[in-house]
Amino acid sequence: MSSFLSFLRWLQETPASVGIRESTWTYPVIESVHVLGLCLFLGFALLWDLRLLNVTLRRVPVSDVQARVMPWTNVGFVLMVISGALLFYEEPVRFYGNIFFRLKLVALVLAGLNAAIFHFFTAGKRLIEWDSSPVSPASAKTAGYISLFLWACIVVFGRFIAYNWFDPLVQ
């Protein structure tokens, strides 16, 4: 692990990382993109989860929501990953040592697994069959609830990274 830490120390001293850190505007701009990207990515991901739970967009066929709304969620996701990676790159050592950053990564991996299991196993090609059904299958609902819970955790952990309550795990 200490070689990983020295890699992060090296990363932190690369000219671009120093540049973002020392510039007045770059960091606030990247952070604003990350926060506003939340509206597109998570706002639409929540709509998808809530559609799975049959709470909203009930008259829109599930396959339509997937075809028309999901691409925007993906655009938002790319925006979040790029801006998030840049925020990490700006101060990798502090992020690595921050407990909430670690928790956020764990929750992100779990959310990814949940989405993958849903996409490849639960839903597969069955989305069309669900279009006409008034109630979502239990497995779809479970995926929706797990996703809502994990994304809420990710937002909360993400916000808490800014606080140094438990810093530093590493110096």
Binding site: L46, V60, W72
Partner: protein, 163 residues
């Protein structure tokens, strides 16, 4: 400075309310309320954008605008209420000493006022019409104004921390 001097007394009073003092003196309360503020942001973002992107013709074109607007409405109202409540509590903790003099906060409040007025007058008038009565050019303008006003709120909100 955009806020009138006469408002200082009000901000000062808010800062010294019991809840303002309690949040200011706590290590974790401000952060916890901020987290709820962000969760509500995601919901309001989705509720606004799904209708605006529909008005632009960029999503769910097979469904009427009115239907999407109706589905989004409870989420818009619920999250707006949560945003205002948590936002007020965050502001109360340092109302006079930070927010009253913070230019980004002042601009945020102006954008917020404009966004709310626009959303519940012009935009609301448009999105509950039948699709056949909606002029596509006007729909696009309304969607763009809506996104710009709410983005102004968000960007200025993020700006409070950097001012």
């Amino acid at each position: 400075m955009l806020f009138p001097r006469s408002w200082f007394g009000l901000f000062n009073w808010i800062e010294h309310t019991s809840y303002g003092t309690m949040i200011r003196d706590s290590i974790w309360q401000f952060a916890a309320i901020e987290a709820v503020h962000l969760l509500a942001l995601a919901v309001i973002g989705g509720a606004v954008l799904i209708v605006d992107l529909r008005l632009l013709g960029w999503t769910l074109r097979r469904q009427p605008v009115k239907q999407i607007a109706r589905d989004a409405e409870p989420f818009l109202l619920g999250s707006l209420f949560m945003m205002l409540l948590t936002g007020y509590l965050l502001m109360a903790s340092l109302a006079a000493s930070k927010y009253y003099v913070n230019l980004a906060f002042q601009l945020k409040m102006i954008f917020l006022l404009l966004a709310i007025v626009f959303t519940f007058t012009v935009r609301r008038w448009l999105i509950y019409k039948d699709d056949t009565e909606i002029n596509p050019a006007i729909a696009k303008i309304v969607a763009i104004v809506s996104v710009l006003l709410w983005s102004g709120v968000g960007i200025m909100g993020r700006g409070i921390g950097f001012y």
